[in-house]
Amino acid sequence: MAHESVQPPPQAAPLAEVEPKVKILPGMSSDMTAATFVIDQEDHTLGNTLRHCIMQNPEVEFCGYSIPHPSNLNIHIRIQTTPNTTALEALSQGLKDLYTMCDHTLKKFNEEITKGDYEIVSS
């Protein structure tokens, strides 16, 4: 087996037409209180959690997600808000909240593991 390099391989050059990670579907309201976002390369894992986080926002009137076609790996996430905020604002706030919640989960989990207050089974 020929090893040609000890460095990590360079990232493959992006293809000419790469789907953007996030885009907005045409037809959002002019004040941006209602919009549908398309997130590429994501599924229920992010879709459902993000929907949950966005719905916790009291300024959000509606939030739902769908996977339009099982062969296409992307999700549509619809957000409608009160005039006090925008759909884009609600989306980024939802992502930030989800990040913080995960961060807290990890912190609590690591604390509990370090505390060592559990049975260790040797196999």
């Binding site: 090893h3 460095q7 997130i39 992010l46 009291p58 990040y99 989960t105």
Partner: protein, 342 residues
Amino acid sequence: MPYDRDHIVLEAETVTNISSHDYPHQFPGDDRGFGVEAFRNKFNVKVWRVSREEMEFDLVGLDASLSNAFRRILLADVPTMAIEKVFMHYNTGVVQDEVLSQRLGLIPINADPTKFVSKSADDPLTELNTIVFKLDVECTHNKEAAKDETDPNKLYKNSSVYSGHLKWVPQHGQAETFADRPIKPVLDDILLAKLRPGQRITCELHCEKSSGRDHAKYSPVATASYRLLPVIDIKQEITGDMALKLQKCFPSGVVDIIEKNGQKTAKVVNARKDTMSREVLRHKEFQGLVELKRKRDHFIFKIESTGAVPPAVLFAQSVKHMMDKCELVLKAVSELSVDTTA
């Protein structure tokens, strides 16, 4: 029955109160609070048992979407190393090349995936993206075997090919990098094929890094699952023979019989052990006296690792993976230019 925010209710034929309505504007005079602050206040973790391959812990105070995301990530997104390419030099055994290759792919490899990068189709092979194994086994007659021996294991040498026959061939700096934990299959006694004298398998195997989304062999877990904490509500005191009968409706250790006012009385001592068989709902005499529920936000998680990565590390990685997803999307959202005239 009024809507119970905290429980899922199990009835004889149906399960009700399934979806969570814990969102703003859902209940009049609601003062529970939402979002990150509320999450911080109620979220808790309790680890029960940890072994090299298995772990059981409780996550309390989170939505099903979040705990399901962690489970999904564990199954499909946390990467491991697995045999991806098999260069078959000899295979004169009865197990065909493609069948043997498929079996080889499923062997869990004890190598820290964080020390590797994933390889795309046209990347050159490096010590960072490939682990090389050699398999060279030939079956021969065992000269020392007794004349009337019938057991193939004694009659022949190497009549069974095991995962332990795989020999790691360190590339470049790999021998030093993994000096404290030489790369090998997690288990040495996985049967791969059977041979008879004169038959031989010789091949070179290349392991690559990928995730369960690509192929199930890369999944770091045998399984990762959760269940909701069972709750058994005894509405009215159940005494005497009824108490004994109630006890028999549940697995042992769930219901205890205590003396109360000189009477045998049933008491739930460990609902966690209940399988939620709903046996109690089959008996008319308990109708209206016992309610079976599950706590909506109390998840009993069980992670069974394949052994390559300890389960506690896997869970931490899955949460980290979710955070990476958020960061990636958040970056894309911040770069989004909005053209409302479109």
